[in-house]
């Protein structure tokens, strides 16, 4: 039995494959997912930038029927690929668990909250528009309802993201190893504030605070994209510089 144990720990595993391959797979899932997201919501789904909130019933029906085919494709794609987003959550949690002086509670909160967030974050919107696109024979009033439900939930405030940004910022501030840079924590606070401002879209059908507004949509999206890009770059550096000993015990580290 002791010879078996020493065989496992003595073998130089780095020579066999990249020890960080699993993390790199997760990392690559992020640009892949967001490119798909862009294809689905911008190009096929025609929801980014969103159509106007103040459209009449006839205009809404026209919007959906004229884009019916691309929308159908978009929502099938979303349904099949949405799960990809969880790979990035897994990666972030893995890196958050390396922090020193921070309990894993924040990492688990992040994990939980993003698992919830997928639904109101984009899936609910996708389902509403999938319904509208696949069931065009439905009552016009129902189609208008689906339109409102989809876009209000998509652009509107979501407390799950407030929590995500908040625990991420807390964890970064408390981390004694300073794995993630402090400025990323501050950028998370920008994101947090945009979630609060998004509440105005429920009241306004036009102007800068409507769901297609300069502030509610465009500024919010710019801040989110900037944050995501910075996060991806930070994750890249973290994986690259992570000492191999910190990985699985097979590579010589203690866990």
């Amino acid at each position: 039995m002791s010879t078996l144990v020493s065989d496992v720990t003595a073998a130089p595993v780095e020579a066999v494959r990249n020890p960080k391959l699993d993390q790199w797979i997760c990392w690559w899932s992020i640009p892949i997912f967001y490119n798909l997201f862009g294809l689905i919501f911008v190009y096929l789904g025609k929801l980014m930038p969103p159509p106007k909130p103040g459209l009449s019933q006839a205009e809404i029906i026209e919007f959906i029927t004229s884009n019916k085919d691309s929308m159908q494709t978009a929502w099938v794609m979303l349904a099949l690929t949405l799960g990809t987003a969880s790979l990035s959550s897994g990666l972030i949690i893995e890196q958050m668990k390396r922090m020193k002086g921070v309990s894993h509670a924040f990492a688990y909160t992040y994990l939980t909250v993003l698992a919830v967030a997928a639904l109101p974050g984009c899936l609910f919107c996708g389902i509403m528009f999938a319904l509208a696109a696949f069931r065009p024979e439905r009552d016009a009033e129902l189609i208008v309802l689906l339109y409102d439900m989809g876009l209000l939930s998509f652009v509107g405030s979501l407390g799950c993201f407030v929590t995500q940004y908040m625990v991420f910022a807390f964890a970064i501030f408390l981390d004694q190893r300073r794995l993630f840079p402090r400025w990323l924590a501050y950028m998370s606070i920008w994101g947090l504030v945009t979630e609060f401002i998004a509440a105005t879209i429920w009241t306004f059908r036009s102007g800068p605070y409507a769901w297609d507004g300069l502030i509610s949509f465009y500024l919010g999206t710019v801040i989110f994209v900037l944050w995501e890009i910075c996060l991806v770059v930070c994750l890249y550096k973290l994986i690259k510089h992570q000492p191999v000993e910190e990985l699985h015990p097979a590579y010589g580290g203690a866990r």
Partner: protein, 193 residues
């Protein structure tokens, strides 16, 4: 005594750290976008509505609030100065007073909103009040975040044998930003016609 001597800055020095300045400069730009949509978009359409609506605002209350906030800035600046002089108990007192002013600001702002709401004026009443509630609302959110920063400063002063001046500067920097952004909101919403 020059300002530099009073605040004991020897040479070029980033107050706090670069990270908080990424934050503060970003916030400044973001707030400017709120100012932009208020002041520049649809100006000719909005002007009569804005002029009429402005009469409903309680200028005196807002003036008092401005004075409260700028006083809190003085107190927080003094707390940093006291920390540099290792006068930690005085520094703590200044932070508490500064935060107290912040709380007072929030209470008066809450009363101001309550007065509007009881008159039936809400976020959706007209374009002016849309901007009024959003700008003052976002500012209130930043005051709350600022109070969290000040709480951290107080904790630093109370729990550490050698409170870090750089941390004090970080918290103070954010708080002063909250103060000067209010100067512009006060001017734009209440005073400029």
């Amino acid at each position: 005594m020059t300002i530099a001597q009073a605040t004991q800055i020897e040479s070029e020095h980033v107050p706090g750290d670069k990270d908080v300045w990424v934050f503060v400069l970003g916030e400044m730009v973001i707030f400017s976008s709120y100012f932009f949509v208020y002041a520049c978009l649809n100006r000719s359409v909005n002007e009569p509505v804005f002029a009429a609506s402005r009469h409903h605002l309680n200028q005196t209350l807002a003036l008092v609030n401005t004075l409260i906030l700028l006083t809190s800035s003085l107190l927080i600046a003094l707390s940093v100065q006291a920390t540099r002089k290792r006068d930690y108990r005085v520094a703590t007192r200044f932070v508490e007073l500064g935060a107290g002013c912040g709380v007072l600001f929030l209470l008066l702002k809450g009363y101001e909103w309550y007065a509007k709401l009881s008159q039936g004026i809400t976020l959706g009443t007209n374009a002016f009040f849309m901007h009024y509630f959003v700008m003052t609302g976002v500012h209130v959110l930043h005051v709350l975040i600022g109070l969290v920063f000040l709480a951290i400063l107080r904790l630093e002063l109370r729990t550490r044998a050698q409170p870090r001046v750089s941390l004090m500067e970080v918290g103070a920097t954010y708080w002063h930003m909250v103060d000067f952004l209010w100067f512009l909101i006060f001017a734009l919403l209440y005073l400029m016609r």
